[in-house]
Structure formats: C-alpha cells, structure tokens
C-alpha cells in the first residue's frame, strides 16, 4: 500500500552491474545559494570511487542528490541507462541503490530485529524474500542474531555500526553510497569496515565512498575525485592521484585556516 507507486524492480536478482553517473549537477538547500555548481562524476561497478574534499565542499550533498534526498536545480543522475534524477529514495532503493548516511542512523527504541526489518521495507509485500534475507544476514552476522531482541539504543557504538551495515546490505544493493564510515568508530572496527567495502567491490558492486580519512580511503580506491567549494577539482585513477595526494591535501589544510 505505502509507496506502491514506485516501480519495484528486482534489486536482488537484477545482476545488471550498474554504473552511477552524476552529470553537471547544480543543487543546494536554498534557492540561488548553490552548494554544488555543476558537479559531474561517475562510479563504475567493481570499483571503489572515492570523493575527497575539505569540510563543507559539498561531498555529503553529492550523496544526497544521488539518493534523492536533495532535489537538484539542474543536471541529471543516471544509473545504468536509466535517468533517476526525479525519483524518490524508495524508487532508487528498488533500483539497487543504498545509502549509509553520516553518523548513527539506527532507530534506538526499535529492537535490532525491528531495525533489520525496516531495512527490508521495500519488500514488505514479499515475506519469503524478507525471511530469506534475514536468515542470510544472521548467518553473516551471528552477533546480531544473539542481540536481536535488544533495543538498538542499548548496543555499543561498534555494534550499532555493524547493525547499520547489515541493514544496508539486506536488500542486496548493487550501488552503495557511503558517507564518512570511519567517523566516531573505534580503529579496529574501521579496518573491518574497509575490508567490507573491498569485499563489496570484489563482488561487483559499485561503491561511492566519501571520507575524511584520506589516506585509508585512497588506499582502497580505484578512482578518486576531489571537490572544492562545490566544484570538481582533480580526478584520476588511484595510482595517478597518489603522487599528488600530499600536495592537494596540503592545499586544503591551508584553505581551512584561511578566514
């Protein structure tokens, strides 16, 4: 009943490996104060594409436009050969996109199990698929099975992150938009998160990663974009980029201390 107007395609069995394209996007939170001024980028299947930039450059806004949380003023977004510029998030989810926002996004007074069930909301009319997905999830994250009756708010920060990651992957997405996964997370868990990202890449998924942790992000990147003040700055394959890394980041540090 809810949102049944969205074209529900089969994200799990749809193995078309989709590239994600952002084409000359202008967008912002108030009319005429654009945060993005004609940003273009492209993320390919089986690649980790990393977006770097100083604070306030518009990295998170890029992900929000790609996921349909901020409507662009101009430009287009495509996945595969489909234009998704005007689709709401639920329709993008159904096309295989998934988005991990910055910060803690669990529902604290829902149980772990209920949080996971919310991750399968787009399959609310397909009980068999939901049960199968939950079973797969519990097989992969046995901890969550033991914790499933607990309120998510009572879990440790690390367990909550794990829950978010498990919930993100439940509908078996093909395109992942990940914002600052390592902020506020214990170092050992950060390593695990990057291992996950590499594994998803190797499974053929399209990964777009925004990260402050420049060195770590670049080390798993295949392709790097940099943004400054809502504009494309440099981009290139990781090997090419690594050489200029110090120079570029050094510039941002100086930019940050300017008044």
């Amino acid at each position: 009943m809810i949102g049944s107007s969205a074209p529900i395609s089969d994200a799990a069995t749809n193995n078309t490996r989709s590239s994600l394209v952002m084409d000359k996007i202008t967008a912002g939170y108030h009319a005429d104060q654009w945060v993005l001024n004609g940003v273009s980028l492209r993320a390919e299947p089986e690649r980790v594409t990393v977006v770097l930039g100083p604070n306030g450059a518009g990295k998170s806004t890029v992900l929000k436009v790609l996921y349909g949380l901020v409507a662009p003023h101009a430009g287009s977004v495509r996945v595969g050969d489909q234009d998704i510029t005007r689709l709401p998030p639920e329709a993008r989810l159904a096309l295989g996109l998934a988005y991990l926002p910055q910060g803690h996004s669990v529902f604290p007074s829902l149980t772990v199990q209920e949080n996971l069930e919310m991750g399968l909301w787009i399959y609310r009319h397909d009980r068999a698929r939901r049960e199968e997905a939950l079973e797969r999830c519990f097989a992969e994250y046995p901890v969550l099975k033991d914790l499933r009756a607990k309120l998510a708010g009572s879990l440790s920060g690390g367990q909550q992150r794990l829950l978010e990651v498990a919930r993100l992957m439940l509908p078996n997405p093909t395109v992942l938009l990940i914002d600052e996964p390592s902020v506020g997370v214990a170092p050992n868990l950060v390593d695990i998160l990057y291992e996950h990202i590499v594994r998803w890449r190797n499974q053929g998924k399209t990964v777009l990663l925004v990260d402050q942790n420049v060195e770590a992000a670049v080390s798993i990147a295949d392709y790097v974009y940099t943004l400054e003040s809502g504009r494309n700055r440099l981009d290139g394959p990781r090997d090419e980029f690594e050489g200029r890394l110090r120079e570029v980041v050094g510039q941002w540090l100086r930019l940050d201390v300017l008044p």
Partner: protein, 289 residues
C-alpha cells in the same frame, strides 16, 4: 468503605474513558510531532455523529463506533488531501494555526447543524446498572471503559507487531532515516493524522454515552486531553491510558470531600503538578544531551 470502593471503581471506569480522550492527542504529538488543537471539537463532532445515528437508526454501540470510525477516516482523508498536504514542509506553528482554523470551522458547523443546546444520547438498553456484590456499575460506564481498553489495545498491538506500525515508530524516531530505508514518510504522516482523528471520533462516542454535550464543550475536552497527555507523556500509549485512569480515580476520590462545583480544580491541580514534574524530566533529558 463500600462508598470508597464504589467511588474508586467508577473512577477507574471514567478514567479509562479520559485516557481515550487523550489518546488521539498523544498519538499525533508522539508520532506525528503535531499538536492537534482540533482534538476537542473533533471529540464533540464524534459525539454528535453518534447521537444522530442512534436517534435515526437505533444502532447498537459497536456499530455506532465502527460507523463513526469510518466517517472520521473519510474526514481525515479529506483534510489530508485538501489542507494538510500543503503543510508538510511548513513550520509547526503554521500547522498549529491551520488546525486552530479547522477547529473553529468544525465548532461553527456543529453549532449550525445541531444548535448550541446541550443534548444527550440515551440508549435505553444501557440505562440500568450491573450489580456485582455491593458494587453497582452503570452499563454506560462499563461500555465506555471497554471501548477505551479495546481501542488502546488494538492500537498498541498494531504499533508493536504490524509492519506499518513498526514503520510509524521508526519514522517518529527519525523521519530522515526512515526515508532512507524507503519509507514514504509523508504517507506515514497522513496515516498518523488519520489514526489520531479516528481516535477522537471513538472518544466522541464515549462522551455521548456518558455526558450531555454541546458544541462549546470542546474546550473542556481539549483541556482533558491535554491534561492526560501531560500526565502520561507522549512516548507510550499505554501510559496515556494509565494517566487517564489515575486522573479518573483522583477526581472521583476528591469528589467525596470537595464540593461538586470545585471538582474541576482537581484537574487543574493535576495539570500543574504534572507540568512541574515533566519540566524537571525535560530539563534532565536536555542536560544529558
């Protein structure tokens, strides 16, 4: 002793009904983040619907409740389509003002249709009492308490165990994170508004069962709903019902010592005490952030 027992039991029965009058308000505040100031007029409208249908067709109470629920569902749908969809991204204060306007219109329309006179619904089969030991319980009180308990119970089970109920709870915690998981939260808000209205309609039927009523009584029921919400909080509908029960018992016991015309003072005393207490709670919660 028998007097006290009778008083407590009738306080409980009446209190459950008070809880029901606060349920719609709790629900729209707790889950929809909207203070529905039209709650009082909607309750009175429900009472008039019940009265009219009963006088026309002599329906039994269960059928009356269902009919009023359906009509309030339709009313909620119309309000959602006409007004509220334009308010989704407006500030809360504008929504509040519009709901004030809606309340004003409903009150005027009810006065126009049913006049401003005090009216009462008399269901002959419910006019006697059930004798239970030394207790004598009016059937109307029993029926309205039962309606309150069943309505709350059904709502609780719905929220706790259905997929839609879980999505409503999730959206209440974070509209954004629910949207990210594909929940159409503007539809959820419309559904929350609808449930709040239907609860007001059901409460209206119980008002008609127990009291004479007139359109201008809406303030009194809005205040009652508000007191219940302040005492019970907005996090849990079961504590709303419990709050109503406590208020009902306190009011009934106070009636033994306080003259009839001062009984409303008890309600306001409750409101004052609860506000003091809740303020502390709120302050503590803010400090812990």
């Amino acid at each position: 002793m028998a007097v006290v027992l009778t008083t407590v039991v009738s306080g409980i029965l009446l209190g459950l009904m008070y809880g029901l009058t606060g349920m719609g308000l709790t629900f729209t505040m707790g889950f929809g983040k909207t203070m529905n100031v039209a709650q009082g007029t909607l309750i009175i409208l429900g009472a008039f619907f019940a009265l009219t249908f009963f006088n026309a067709w002599h329906l039994n109470v269960i059928v009356l409740v269902i009919l009023v629920m359906v009509l309030f569902g339709v009313l909620a749908g119309l309000l959602n389509l006409s007004l509220l969809r334009f308010l989704r991204d407006k500030s809360e204060i504008i929504t509040l003002l519009v709901l004030f306007g809606v309340a004003e219109v409903i009150e005027n329309v009810t006065s126009w249709i049913w006049t401003g006179n005090l009216q009462a619904m008399t269901i002959p089969t419910l006019q006697n009492s059930i004798q239970w030991g030394s207790l004598s319980l009016p059937k109307t009180d029993l029926v309205s308490a039962a309606i309150a308990v069943v309505a709350t119970g059904v709502l609780y089970l719905f929220l706790q165990y259905t997929y839609l109920g879980k999505a409503i709870r999730a959206s209440a915690q974070s509209d954004l994170y629910a949207r990210i998981l594909g929940v159409n939260t503007s539809q959820i808000r419309a559904i929350i508004f609808l449930i709040g209205l239907v609860l007001a309609g059901i409460a209206g039927v119980t008002v008609a069962l127990l009291f004479p009523f007139a359109p201008q009584d809406q303030d009194q029921w809005l205040v009652m709903a508000f007191i219940v919400v302040v005492v019970g909080g907005i996090d849990n509908i079961l504590s709303t019902l419990l709050a109503g029960l406590v208020i009902g018992v306190a009011q009934a016991l106070a009636g033994l010592v306080v003259p009839f015309q001062d009984q409303n003072l008890i309600l306001y005393a409750f409101l004052a005490i609860a506000l003091l207490f809740r303020n502390n709670q709120l302050a503590r919660r803010m400090r812990s952030l």
